[in-house]
């Protein structure tokens, strides 16, 4: 419970001595707000956090090693289990990496479909953030509302891909099948509802004074620190750095659609929240443009049965809802990769947590951790 005190000191304990001892408290691996099996060893002074040490690895499955033992294209379903809230972006990441390694071209229509699915996925993932963040701060109703709308996205994705969570719907060289009949209208219908619902969220949560006082000025991540730690996604954009892979290194057809990268300067929990809310609006914009511009054509490139890319190193980076998701593959010319490495955005973003937490209150812990929005599946891999 507290640090050991030597016997001679024990007799002369003053109030100051008692206060200077930290209480060590374990948050997780089973805790309602760690969003998975994350364990934080906190040293507390009352409600003040003196020190935080994250302990990860409870979900480690050795995916990277598993991938070394299988042919390239067999590895795509495993990536569903990385960031399970945005499985499609993992699929895209690994497929892009394999495509670069093997020099595979992707048909235009497939690229548009990929972007469409990616943005739907982003909305679904940010809605999970919104809901869990609301619960973390005590607004339980927000959770249900966000999940209600996420359900609409999942229904759409289910109709297109046939699965609700582990989609595995992006293949090396395209997507396995075209969009189902009438999918575009359904997406537009969803977009229409979702616009109104976003307004409602703003009314319920964003404008709420309590919510703002819980998030503003909390967990400030300065721009320099955000860069030096290599954070990405909404975390770095909330710190005033307009780093979005979709703009910095456009992939698929992101250079053909118009959208803004929301940036906030404050770097606090509030800014990270706002960035994600704004990103959902931008995703809607992208979806509408994609549905307008999508060309006809094939959706998949024919590939040989045994796919052997030439020896070399390739990497791909995409903007997953959590940040820069990067796959790196080393090929030695055989059907199996020599090495697959996954640069998980949550892994990097979480490493900044200890420095954010020092000196804050326990109650802010959940707000800060929630605002980083980690998924343990991709941290532990």
């Amino acid at each position: 419970m507290s640090m050991p005190v030597s016997p001679e000191k024990q007799s002369t304990l003053s109030t100051v001595d008692i206060l200077s001892q930290g209480m060590v408290i374990n948050v997780g691996p089973q805790h309602p707000s760690t969003h998975g099996v994350l364990r934080l060893i906190l040293t507390l002074d009352g409600e003040q956090i003196l020190h935080c040490e994250p302990v990860i690895g409870y979900l480690h499955r050795g995916l990277e090693k598993m991938m070394e033992r299988r042919p390239y294209r067999h590895n795509v379903p495993f990536t569903d289990r990385l960031d399970y809230l945005a499985a499609l972006s993992n699929n895209l990441g690994i497929c892009q990496c394999i495509e670069r390694l093997g020099g595979v071209e992707v048909p235009e229509r497939a690229q548009y479909i990929r972007v469409l699915l990616m943005e739907l996925q982003r909305i679904a993932s940010h809605l999970v953030f919104l809901g869990t963040f609301g619960t973390d701060l005590g607004a339980t109703t927000m959770f249900l509302y966000a999940f209600r709308e996420r359900e609409l996205v999942l229904d759409l994705l289910e109709e297109c891909t046939g699965a609700r969570l582990t989609y595995n719907w992006i293949r090396v060289g395209g997507v396995p099948d075209d969009l189902p009949e009438g999918f575009g209208e359904k997406v537009l219908g969803f977009v229409k509802t979702f616009r109104q619902r976003l307004e409602e969220y703003d009314q319920l949560l964003t404008r709420n004074r309590i919510f703002r006082s819980r998030t503003q000025g909390i967990g400030i991540l300065p721009k320099e620190l955000a860069l030096a730690y290599g954070t990405s996604g909404p975390v770095i954009r909330a710190s005033g750095m307009a780093y979005d892979v979709r703009k910095a290194a456009p992939y698929e057809v992101y250079d053909r659609v118009e959208f803004d990268v929301p940036v906030h300067e404050q770097g606090d929990v509030w800014a990270r929240y706002l960035v994600r809310m704004e990103e959902m609006r931008q995703s809607i914009r992208i979806i509408e443009q994609v549905l307008r511009d999508i060309p006809d054509g094939p959706v998949q490139t024919k590939l040989p049965k045994v796919f052997k890319p030439p020896a070399g190193i390739a990497y791909s980076r995409i903007e997953s809802p959590r940040g820069e998701l990067s796959f790196m593959m080393v090929s030695d010319g055989s059907p199996n990769p020599l090495r697959v490495h996954i640069r998980a955005p949550s892994f990097v973003n979480l490493s900044v947590l200890p420095s954010l937490l020092e000196g804050t209150k326990v109650a802010d812990l959940v707000a800060i951790l929630g605002s980083i929005d980690v998924v343990l599946g991709e941290i532990d891999r």
């Binding site: 290599g230 190193i313 790196m328 640069r343």
Partner: protein, 159 residues
Amino acid sequence: MNEALQHLLKQLGEAVSEWTQVGANEVRLTVSPEHWREVVQFLHDDALWQMDYPADLTVWDTGTGFGVYLRLWSSVHNHNVIVLTSISREQPRIASLATLYPGLNWHEREMYDMYGVIFEGHPNLKRILLPDDWEGFPFRKDYVAEPSGDPLHGPQPVD
């Protein structure tokens, strides 16, 4: 990019054994492990590079040695640099960059965890994903994963 690359080669010509430019703003450098820290420090400090964003660091097992891969990005110039090196299997040691880029701290710990590569000068080099008492480095190609072992505490001897 070209100018910056020339500048780099002029300054650190002997350290960079191989370089290729990929696309407009990406370059791949192969360096010797002794110059690892020096090259990265240069990329970090030099005004033409300012590689301030540590994107990725990883290690792979080639069977005879370990390859090290570092990807940096510059928020100022939008340069991408991949720095590659290879280290021997017997002496898997390389200079740590964790003090230069705090973001590489966990990456280096993970690579130590999985490959047993010692990052010299790392402030807190211990296992990160696996339990502290795990034996061996499971991502090495010669690691024998015993499925009959206790999943929590590494491979157990099978009689």
